[in-house]
Symmetry: C2
Subunit: 241 residues, 2 copies
């Protein structure tokens, strides 16, 4: 029997219409969906986006319980979270070996901070012949930039993308040296980041976008107005000088 | 009469199926397309992508002759290229004022190195009430990463995006300090960049993707094999440590 293929599909940042034609075509055809369900996301946003465009009737759906922790890939085998990954790997392979195609859904763009790649090497080491097709999508970073009406880069500019939770000294260096800096995971450290931006005189060059492209989207240009607020996990801060 | 709206639509990196549902919906509806036609691109790739999905029958098509030069927005008014921009601005506004919606097509993602933003401030200064809707798309960077099977970032990694033509010292600093570095416009300076990567011991961590997601796509993992070759304008280099 011919093995199934594994599609890794970026479903965009939130607006179902920001899915690509390719994503929709694949998701209509593939019989098994696998989506990450981590602590921070609560219910799966990726699945909810897809369900607005693609019928789930007759689809088999696998919830992959990922710890959304920052564990370097090389340490994954030795840490306490490896068992849930291993389980997801086994489920994916068992379907593929039965000849079923499977789609792994990732929110936003499949190549930017996607949990899938924690499984990638392990999948290939167990089944080197596995066909993996990665389908890129619209990133949360781009949707935030579009909603804010603030382009990420022009001409010969340099842009940096990093988690706001990065060590302060390096964060500061990056803010000083790049034309545009995009900070993800800002919800955890907003007040601290605001102080840093104030110190560097960059507050008026920054914008915060919460839940870009969704019905609950907020574009916040006066950063001081949200000091102390609890922000959603899907919040991005863009600094453009 | 109600003014028309201006949609700035990212049509993706090359594969027409990487257009979003939203882009297709807007482009089917809008009667006027404006697309940039620069020296470096030759015939417009954005237009050719769209024509594979959306019928051009009955559409009015405006070619905007942009100089694809690195001119800071603030200097645009004073440099010799401003007249062609000014002409494009006038054409866009004349349509909008006649109540016609217009779509400005941008290759890849509309917020990453799009020529549109050279017009943005000028358009808004002449017609502050102009409704501009920016529709993000799949970037060439993401398509290249997907085709290479090499994710851009994981966990708490930092990524930098910049033109390969950047000054060597800063390029070197960026290559040394970031987890992932994406270099655009590599075609102009490939051999020089290869030498730099060799000096830094990063050649085996790099991949070159030419014309990502198109039928002519090439993924080149042995960088030395293309030394001296003339690469296409749509070529991206990704270094991932």
């Amino acid at each position: 029997m011919k093995s199934g293929r594994l599609y890794v599909v970026g479903v965009g940042p939130g607006d179902p219409e920001l899915m690509t034609l390719k994503a929709v075509k694949i998701l209509k055809k593939v019989p098994v969906f696998c989506f990450p369900k981590g602590k921070e996301e609560g219910s799966s946003v990726a699945m909810s986006i897809v369900s607005k465009i693609v019928s789930l009737d007759g689809k088999e759906v696998i919830e992959a319980h990922f710890p959304m922790k920052k564990v370097p890939v090389k340490d994954a085998a030795s840490c306490d979270v490896s068992s849930s990954w291993e389980e997801t790997v086994e489920i994916i392979l068992s379907h593929v070996l039965k000849g079923k195609d499977i789609a792994f859904l990732t929110l936003g763009d499949s190549v930017i901070y996607s949990t899938f790649f924690y499984l990638y090497d392990r999948l290939l080491s167990l089944l080197p012949s596995l066909q993996v097709i990665i389908v890129p999508g619209v990133s949360a970073m781009s949707a935030s930039s579009a909603s804010a009406g603030m382009p990420l880069c022009l001409g010969s500019e340099r842009i940096a993308l990093l988690p706001a939770t990065y060590e302060e000294e390096k964060l500061k260096d990056t803010l000083l040296s790049f034309d545009t800096v995009v900070l993800m995971k800002i919800n955890k450290v907003f007040d601290r980041t605001l102080s840093l931006l104030e110190k560097l005189g960059l507050v008026s060059s920054a914008v915060v976008v919460e839940m870009a492209s969704t019905e609950k989207e907020r574009v916040i240009k006066d950063l001081r107005s949200i000091k102390g607020e609890t922000l959603h996990y899907f919040t991005t801060l863009i600094v453009k000088k």
